[in-house]
């Protein structure tokens, strides 16, 4: 490595030290702790806690629910954000700013306040069910189940998805769209063959963001899911704080961490392949 490169590498040192000390070290400690059994005076390596976790059907249900809720939330954000990003392309930059601020305002609100607002709306005696009651329609369960959690998470994370997709949508050269139209593509074909593939990097990075944040979300599942809809993150909290079972908590956290990162790595691979193709031209 040349001196110049060494010097530029040194620029990332403060950030690197910060992350190593405050993020990597605790993560490694938790992971290591989950494999260690302390007896009087010594310690032994064991995978026993993991075995216990994976042989328990309850754990599998938790993991499955967490991933399902995260996947549906990601999909819902994607389906809603893509058309808005398309609209963003058509707007002037002033109009775009106004719309973006409006749509991103949930991100600027405290997560607790925002989620409590959903409780007021979705609850058994909330605004929606009261209205249905007035209309003579039977109440629907919108809270303390998966639906409530998905609604809450989608509301929070929609903005991240929108930012990610809009970024690649605005990079898309209008001439590519005109070229496709000139060659006989219908609106739908332009979307399918040009816009969607060229926005894939944004779609993937938005999906990675939303998926990881949904999988580790804690407040929304607690407030909108209640005890009936436990996910991995709420289980970690219960084990560590309510039952003081730190090692079991570490196991759940480790499983969640590894599963999410495997999925993210797969998505990222997919994204970089398309990013490489999408650049230049």
């Amino acid at each position: 490595m040349t001196t110049a490169r060494l010097r530029s590498a040194s620029l990332i040192m403060p950030a690197l030290i910060f992350i190593a000390a405050l993020f990597l070290a605790p993560v490694v400690q938790i992971l290591a702790g989950s494999f260690v059994q302390t007896n009087s005076g010594g310690w032994t390596f064991t995978a026993g806690l993991y075995e216990a976790f994976f042989t328990d059907a309850y754990s599998w249900r938790l993991l499955e629910r967490t991933l399902r809720i995260s996947a549906i939330t990601t999909l819902a954000c994607l389906v809603m954000a893509f058309p808005v990003a398309l609209l963003m392309r058509r707007l002037s930059s002033a109009q775009r700013t106004v719309l973006a601020i409006l749509l991103l305002s949930p991100l600027l609100t405290s997560v607790v306040v925002r989620t409590l607002a959903w409780v007021i709306l979705l609850g058994p005696v909330g605004l929606i069910n009261k209205t249905l009651g007035v209309l003579g329609i039977a109440p629907v369960a919108l809270m303390y189940n998966d639906i409530g959690v998905i609604i809450g998470l989608t509301h929070v994370f929609f903005g991240y998805m929108l930012l990610a997709i809009t970024a690649s949508m605005l990079k898309l050269d209008e001439r590519l769209v005109l070229a496709a139209i000139n060659l006989g593509a219908s609106r739908w074909q332009v979307l399918r063959t040009i816009v969607f593939p060229l926005c894939l990097p944004g779609i993937v990075s938005g999906s990675v963001l939303v998926f990881t944040m949904s999988a580790s979300a804690y407040i929304v599942p607690v407030l909108l899911g209640g005890t009936a809809t436990k996910v991995m993150a709420t289980e970690v909290y219960d084990l560590a704080i309510n039952y003081l079972e730190w090692k079991e908590a570490a196991v759940v956290a480790a499983v969640l961490f590894v599963t999410v990162w495997l999925i993210v790595a797969a998505l990222a691979r997919f994204a970089t392949r398309h990013e490489r193709i999408g650049e230049g031209g």
Partner: protein, 362 residues
Amino acid sequence: MPSDNQSTEGAFLALRSLTKRFDGHAAVNGISLEVKPGEFVSLLGPSGGGKTTLLHMIAGFTEPDAGDILIQGESVRDWPSHRRGAAMVFQSYALFPHLTVFENVAFGLRMRKVGDGEIRRQVSAALEEVRLQGLEKRYPRQLSGGQQQRVALARALILKPRLLLLDEPLSNLDPNLRRELRDNFREIHNQTRMTTLLVTHDIEEAFTTSDRVAILGNGRLEQFDTPQAIYTRPASAFVARFVGHRNIVQGTPVQKEARHFLAIEGAEALLETPGAASSYVIPMNQVRIATDETTPHGYAGMSGVLEKIEYLGALVRFQVKSGGATLVGECLDDQWSVSLQPGIATRACWPLHRMIDLPGAV
């Protein structure tokens, strides 16, 4: 005999009082022009002159507010872009970056639901025609500028269009590559004789490629003629300035003791017959530095100070300032007298019969 601008028969593409407004401002303002079959025509003008809007209306990307577009005598105003048979090549080519060369060229056929076997046959024929066989699996970013241009042409020509539209395809390129690719367009045109419209703001590009050039300014058609006619007989001060003339002067007729003069920027030139009040262009290559105080017969002269000398290689450009007026002249390098230095008092003259009368005043 009907004048060229009114005949419909024989016109391949005809624009009739085409108008487009954006936010109340007319980007294209009542433009009518006719292009003959097989002609190569440039739409030339400064940016914001309306030339790209005009091309986009012909291509079917922008709907005109008024007027009509006829291709082979048929109004295509309400037709979708791909039915008009007007294929477009864009600035920087707009190749689809996520598709291979093969898929870029095949795109139009795929949209028409042509069968796979037929697509393969037609695409390889098209790629062979532009000498790109063997590069089917490459992506656009892996190609040189020249290869990208040929992919763009193959992609446009595979649908057998009636009209080829080139939208500033060569801006953003370095000058040498530009010259080479510009010659390619002309060469393709010579082979196919396809009626072609080129939008550009580069005078050299327009003049070297085109049979006729339409000069657009502020959404209006200023002049539509051959490059030579435009340079030697500009229709307005706008055109004269745009194609590079620097000396646009006011001439006022003066009569003294039965002799006629033309007063130009404080100088008086003797005329044989009475002159007319008008704007005139003095071509730069007609301006000479006089060696003595007398002005030759048939010349006009202006005394002043030699202000600036620019060496351009083959040419030397000089400025003579007289009162408020500045006259720019050009002469061949080997005809320039080295003893002339900035700051000396001198006299510039030019032959009167070489002055170009501008019909519209400044």
